[in-house]
Amino acid sequence: MTSVDLTVPPPSVTALPRKRIRWGEQLVHLVLFIAAAISVLTTLGIVLSLLLPALEFFREVSPVDFFTGTTWAPLFLDARFGVVPLVVGTLMISFWSALVAFPLGLGVAIYLSEYAAPRATAFLKPILEILAAIPTVVLGYFALTFVTPFLRNQLGVQVEIFNALAASLVLGIMLIPTIATLSEDAMAAVPRDLRDGGYALGADKLQVSTRIVVPAAVSGIIAAFVLGFSRAVGETMIVLIAAGQLAQITFDPRETIETITAFIGATGNGDVPTGSIEYKTIFAVGLTLFVMTLVMNLISIRLVRKYREVYE
């Protein structure tokens, strides 16, 4: 092996070989970028596919009538296109399911994060994942054929065959894994020091959990709630099967209602002729749904980012 005299500087700096452009590497970079761009194209496709027919719809039906009208009867001879009943139905379902899912999900999260032993967590988390994996059509069937009869016969609640209450209860249970997992992530991000500080001051587990960990993780927990609510708004099969298709403005969960998603599912299912006003209705209503969930998702993403920045 010949020795190299390292003390001699290279003759000139410019004589260093220039970085070779590796075309293969460039090609790889391009292919990867194209793959990533597919998701952007998907979003673009969603927006365009909703917007264009919706604009045609609004040429025939005034937006004011659409967003303020209180009668939804698009398939009648004397068609009325007031979306308010659908929005009210959607929000009512979401409200009741949130009432079930928020406290239960948060309770599960606190238990998993603060109380459960590692071995219990290893056993319980997969069960939560199984709950999250149940297909929604099965949940809808369960709401219709088990929960509704149970409410009527065992609990004596006078509900319609199709009712918002059974759908909300099952939807709420469905949301528990989402809310519990996201909240627990937020709680896990709270530094140990904060807990130890609490214990050092003589606090017990209850106080550390509810007065230190939960407040410290509050933006993440709210993000989980917002995302859960957004998923309730967008859920289709449970409400389509169990809550019915009767668009009416009511705040009584025992009654039959119709949500935005149920209308889309029920109408897109049939053979509505392309270009007809009924066909365009799907897109106008879909656009309303998309905007509602988009706003909630953006809020949720913002909140998650906020707590990550604080503790990492």
Partner: protein, 291 residues
């Protein structure tokens, strides 16, 4: 020095009591969630058991409940699952590699791609169905075929695959990359021969979970025309009905026997979906690496 046993909490018996109550309330939360799950599984199993026969698996749909089967629906669901795997895993993994290894976070378009994927993950599935209705089925004119359904389900679960793959790639320690670079490997060599093999268990887990979600998804398929009555085996470019859609159709029939069939179909679907989940969870626990 003698050790003195100081009774710290003895002055506040109410605190211990409140603590117990709180812990009990939380256990109740778990119990409600898991109890409902158990009731659902048991109720479906009991209701569907009488109709769970060979005819259900191999028979054709019928207007008579005692003759109805779900073979075309089950086959189509398997085809759809295969298509989703075929499309979503390559696209999802490549996207994840781009975001984790190549993208420069300072560039606005890369941040836009990230936020976009987070957003897509929360777009309601039925909205993808509308996209499918507008573009694939009627716009391009592919028609109401298995391929169209597979493409739409791919888009539905793509964000899940991307997020899981990114986490798996991120978990590979930087020292592995540095070591490979130090030996003179190019960037792609580092990614392809070091990072990706190390991330495969995580990617596989995420992909199987995404697949199980796709297989159980109903709403978007209703929109892209998984039509009600299909009395033949599906082909890639032919009409089809998927198992979840078949279950939905059965739940809508007034006849009680069809309700039983729906429960039996739900058992088949649950077995498919939950066994996929079990495999995914097993993979994750088996190959969890401590770096």
């Amino acid at each position: 020095m003698t050790v003195v046993d100081v009774p710290i909490a003895s002055g506040r018996p109410r605190r211990a009591w409140r603590n117990r109550l709180f812990q009990g309330a939380m256990l109740l939360c778990m119990l409600v969630a898991f109890g409902t799950l158990a009731v659902l599984l048991v109720d479906t199993a009991i209701t569907g058991w009488p109709a769970l026969s060979q005819q259900l698996l191999t028979g054709l749909p019928s207007t008579l409940p005692e003759e109805a089967g779900a073979r075309p629906a089950i086959l189509a669901t398997l085809y759809l699952g295969a298509l989703v795997l075929l499309f979503s895993v390559p696209i999802g993994v490549l996207t994840a590699i781009y975001l984790e290894e190549y993208a420069n976070r300072e560039r606005w378009w890369n941040r836009a791609i990230e936020v976009n994927i987070q957003n897509l993950a929360a777009v309601p599935a039925i909205v993808y169905g509308i996209l499918g209705l507008a573009f694939i089925v009627r716009g391009i004119g592919v028609g109401r075929v298995v391929l169209a359904g597979g493409l739409i389900l791919t888009l539905v679960v793509l964000p899940t695959v991307v997020v899981a793959s990114r986490e798996a790639i991120r978990a590979v320690p930087d020292s592995i990359r540095q070591g490979a670079f130090a030996l003179g490997a190019t960037k792609w060599q580092v990614v392809w021969r070091q990072v990706l093999p190390a991330a495969i268990p995580g990617i596989a887990t995420g992909s199987i979970l995404a697949l199980s979600r796709a297989v159980g998804e109903t709403a978007p398929l209703i929109m892209v025309g998984a039509i009600t009555y299909v009395a033949f085996n599906p082909t890639l470019l032919g009409a089809y009905t998927a198992l979840p859609v078949q279950i939905y159709n059965w739940t809508r029939q007034p006849d009680v026997d069809f309700q039983t069939l729906a429960a039996a179909g739900a058992i088949v679907l649950l077995v498919i979906v939950l066994s996929m989940n079990a495999v995914a969870i097993f993979l994750r626990n088996r190959y969890r690496k401590q770096w």
